[in-house]
Symmetry: C2
Subunit: 345 residues, 2 copies
Amino acid sequence: MNLSDTPHRRYNPLTDEWVLVSPHRTARPWQGQVEKVIPDQRPAFDAACYLCPGVTRANGEINPAYTSTFVFPNDFAALLPDSPSATLADGLFQAHSERGICRVICFSPRHDLTLAEMEIPDIRLVVDLWASQFSELAAIDWIKHVEIFENRGAAMGASNPHPHGQIWANESIPTIVASEQRSQKAYFAQHQRPLLLDYVEQEVARNERVVYANEHWAAVVPFWAVWPYETMLLPRRAVSTLAELSEAERDSLADLLSHTLIRYDNLFQTSFPYTFGWHNAPCDGADYAHHVVHAHIYPPLLRSATVRKFMVGYEMLAQAQRDLTAETAAQRLRDLPSLHWTKAE
Amino acid sequence: MNLSDTPHRRYNPLTDEWVLVSPHRTARPWQGQVEKVIPDQRPAFDAACYLCPGVTRANGEINPAYTSTFVFPNDFAALLPDSPSATLADGLFQAHSERGICRVICFSPRHDLTLAEMEIPDIRLVVDLWASQFSELAAIDWIKHVEIFENRGAAMGASNPHPHGQIWANESIPTIVASEQRSQKAYFAQHQRPLLLDYVEQEVARNERVVYANEHWAAVVPFWAVWPYETMLLPRRAVSTLAELSEAERDSLADLLSHTLIRYDNLFQTSFPYTFGWHNAPCDGADYAHHVVHAHIYPPLLRSATVRKFMVGYEMLAQAQRDLTAETAAQRLRDLPSLHWTKAE
Ligand SMILES: O=P(O)(O)O[C@H]1O[C@H](CO)[C@@H](O)[C@H](O)[C@H]1O
Ligand SMILES: O=P(O)(O)O[C@H]1O[C@H](CO)[C@@H](O)[C@H](O)[C@H]1O
């Protein structure tokens, strides 16, 4: 089947959804909204930034003079640990109270950096923080899922440019996580192998959608990618949470993150906006041999630093749609240098 | 259960998904991206607009001097009617060719209007066009689903402000439509009543989330709404496609559309952006007694004409989240006047 110029749909075996691909449509002119490019000349320290070291936050607390990473409770948490338990079960009207813990994680004291601009040893400290935060929250008996993520850039709803992410830990398993679990469980029951381990091995062997790979990890534009330059970060062995990674695997992950995020920035010579997040195994005590820990990166930009893909209309009502194929996207990213464009001579 | 100030999750019986509601969080300050407010002073005719009457389009065709509505094939169609049939079935790599028809539908010759600003008799002509387009496309033997939608405003990816919508008709049933079908079928099997007929009757009786209702239709902020001011437009009898609506029901729908869309514009005194679209029954010849035709309106604005809700991070990786409750949103919309703010003295 010719995937490079016939309209087709591809199956996402992880979520049991389809994406419509219209490769013939990449030449469509764009007359719609253009994003602002915010000139990225930030100071290394900004006294008005509530994430910088030594600054007083909204609630009166003072950030420590931290020198690597820093975690604190989200001052405007969407979830609270002490909500009273309650249920509404009235036919079509079903609701449950939901407890949770929301934290903010600063990746660096430097206000002017991004993960893409940080050195690999400093990214490694972020990997360690993700892993230790996961372990700490997963150990709380009523927490069933820990979502660790980063919204990078104003176009992706980030309200502060300081390099940081968030953690939302829940007492129930969220909808998207539950659907990935269903598929992975069914695949494991049938093949006695984790779906994502088979998947990463096949992608590495085909080498068509791999953006970058090292000994322990691969960054792949998934066959079923929805966003133009969407990628998944996959370990090359069956490991279900970040906490189980070896020292060498953590170093490899820091290397992979750097090589992948630099390519994003280099693509349109901009600080590429994205949502980035981890799917660790849920922490409800069940068996997760079918689950492979992985990250999804969902970046909105399509053609330039200012023209994004809009997931609206058909996409919100019927199914996801893309023009550029996953193979073309992977090749463009793969062919870019691993040196950040602002550092190149 | 107290839904107005405890964090909780609500179940969407139509898609089998949950939404997290954080009502305590509505006071959160916003320092992120603000949308551009485009001063809406457009001429009634714009020779540079490819949707205006008499204008020459990209492909050299000349639009007729139309006086009410106008339909033409999308010059940059995502789907083509003549794609060759092909299948890829290779383990985790599954794809099918997909045929389809994409059309553009102009709601009015007037470049300067929106559905919210049009008179009810003119909106009625749009209702008739939706119904006749549905019938025409559904009659094509290989078409299985007809998606009729509108992306309104630059914030929702509209590349042209001329009042218009689109139709994407497919040879397969799209993912989101399929999930609504599964739920409606299961409910019908259990209750011998359509899910959405039971739902609209209960919402009208409770009158807590109704924005506007008339003899044949109701506009409701669904109990499980994701977007801050999301609504559903529901007929008050079991009718599965727009084509089956009586004359009186079409008049009522035009009235409902006007009253609902004017309230959106009045909320923040702006031309409210949204994605709006219909879920008619699929047209594959199966029985759709379980299906009730309905529209979803997904508007992104949250607090003002410039501050929107971002569905990013936790929402993309775990599950949808909102701050404002559906009940508060419905009350705010309901309490607004039915006269468009630009026409009020
Ligand atoms: O066809 P348009 O209006 O140019 O494009 C818009 O609607 C389409 C259908 O919802 C989307 O795929 C595009 O991302 C959006 O920008
Ligand atoms: O918490 P923040 O960064 O202010 O908010 C951002 O991330 C949240 C979690 O993904 C989203 O719910 C918000 O819509 C988004 O603006």
